[in-house]
Symmetry: C2
């Protein structure tokens, strides 16, 4: 009788332990990237995926990308160290990438962007907007200055004019003697300088930040698919697909095959695995990108930060342009 | 020693049992609506929320709504019994509601719609489309006939023309002697007959179906907010917000304050609670609508079906227009 009881006890404990392990996910040892601590300040950016194999990026081009990624990640980190909010740092970094010919496929495309505040769960998004220089800023205005969560097309452009957001003037570009329009003052027309980027890079750009108040923010922006169907909306415009932030779980920015990101709700799903199964951030990210997205036939990658400053990077492509600030406060730039 | 071991055994079992209960969710007894079985075929529709209090709907208007909801739910159920797919039944029912002046706020508004196939996780969505008579059909074409998951505005309208989808001709309506245009043949212009619905009803329409092959589909459609900001996108256009379907969890269609549905990813979150915490469908729906949405200050409701034909209805408004087929194969129409 004593032996039977003891056996039942042992079996009960084994079952309990198994349940606990299953809940945590059986992913073995995972490298855990950590942000600077005391206070925890985290900053990570992505600049799209590598479309081809490793050799498709020339050494010169790779150097340019690495330099720009480092410049951007340092600027965002400086903003956070100076006491700026996670939303401010995310907007700043994404604007820098939107302004860079390296990451912007040019004005002919329709642009998508979204931003989310993990403290309030407020969010703003714009889809299929033309002629707006910095869609991420417009998305932030939608979040903060309108009753709406998402605006598209002409409606978004109208709101941009109301908000005196910089627009790109295609007409001015073609006319002679119109240089006065090119000054780029707030609300004035400016001439676009972006040129088409190399086809080696694919997808949008994004940033995720954790500020010293423990607030997480995430944002994404995309110049669209070159020669894409008019009105096509990608993951960068969809809260839950390309962008998500919740102080209780994580902030995520992703880029890749937009349709798959939307169907799977990639960014939201990573947060759900942390919320409902207490999965660590890297395990949650890998499960969604390397299992679910992979299985469905999609490709892409994500960057993420949780409330402790733990970071995750996961992609199923040959590479993803990215940079983050490590635990020593130093920038780390990676592509492959 | 025996007593100590026995005590540990009892405590272990209590802990295990508590974990199990916590995973299922501590919601007490919940009424579980069930669909007809052998084979399980489920069909449920929603026609928006009740904006005012119970008395705001006149008896005459209530009768009209109830009659239409019954007609629609029976038509969808008949399609499923006849062996049609869940996608077919969802499209059919939503078209009937889009065509009804009771549910359609009229052509002046921009329309949103989305549909998702729980077997393949394929999805299609359109946002801010003008002049398309049946946005749900356009969303289905986006899913089945395009490489894209979501189209907006003029791009969506262009795709509608390519697909020879019925459009509403505002100009024809104003011209005399243009009756030939009003025949509504495929690809021809037709004259819109919808008139503005009473303001007592609010939000979009939607349907969720489980067919005899065990496939779940969900769809939502909205005529937009009357006098809403141009380009504003609501939950009906967003996969994961107003629409979601996964054969392994459930299908969901929701309607309400679109911004909150998008931020919370309402439909996707209900599925996540079932996927990651094995919550029953009604408990998952109530947690998202009556706790999360309520707490954030949003309002609205959802309908859902799981793979067993269990149905969930949850809303935090005075009412939600809805109908379903009960376990006896009979239609049940409810508003409050």
């Amino acid at each position: 009788m004593r032996n039977v009881r003891f056996l039942i006890l042992v079996l009960s404990l084994v079952v309990c332990a198994s349940v606990a392990v299953a809940q945590k996910g059986s992913f073995g040892e995972l490298k855990q990237l950590q942000s600077p601590q005391d206070p925890a300040i985290g900053f990570i950016i992505q600049g799209g995926t590598l479309a081809g194999a490793k050799g498709s990026l020339t050494p010169e081009k790779e150097k340019e990308y690495r330099a720009k990624l480092q410049e951007v990640v340092l600027a965002g980190y400086k903003a956070l160290k100076d006491g700026k909010s996670s939303i401010d740092a995310v907007e700043l970094a994404i604007r820098m990438m939107e302004d860079s010919p390296l990451f912007d496929p040019g004005s002919k495309n329709e642009r998508d962007a979204s931003v989310m505040d993990g403290k309030t769960l407020n969010a703003g998004a714009v889809a299929s907007v033309h002629r707006v220089k910095n869609p991420i800023t417009l998305a932030r205005r939608v979040m903060e200055k309108s009753d709406n969560g998402m605006l598209t097309g002409d409606g978004a452009a109208k709101f941009a004019r109301e908000q005196k957001i910089d627009v790109i003037d295609e007409a001015a570009k073609d006319e002679k003697g119109n240089d006065e329009k090119a000054k780029g003052e707030k609300g004035k027309l400016i001439i676009e300088t972006a040129v088409s980027s190399t086809s080696v890079r694919k997808g949008g750009v994004g940033a995720v930040a954790l500020d010293r108040n423990g607030n997480i923010a995430a944002g994404s922006s995309s110049g669209g698919v070159t020669n894409g169907k008019p009105g096509r909306v990608g993951e960068a415009a969809i809260i839950g697909a390309g962008t998500f932030a919740n102080n209780n779980t994580c902030g995520v920015s992703g880029t890749g095959s937009g349709e798959f990101f939307i169907r799977l709700g990639i960014a939201r799903d990573i947060s759900a695995l942390m919320e409902y199964q207490a999965q660590p951030i890297q395990a949650a990210a890998d499960r969604v990108i390397k299992q679910k997205l992979q299985k469905l036939g999609g490709n892409g990658g994500i960057i993420a930060i949780d409330k402790f400053g733990n970071m995750a990077i996961s992609f199923n492509t040959a590479g993803m342009f990215r940079a983050y600030i490590n635990a020593d406060g130093k920038p780390v730039v990676e592509i492959y």
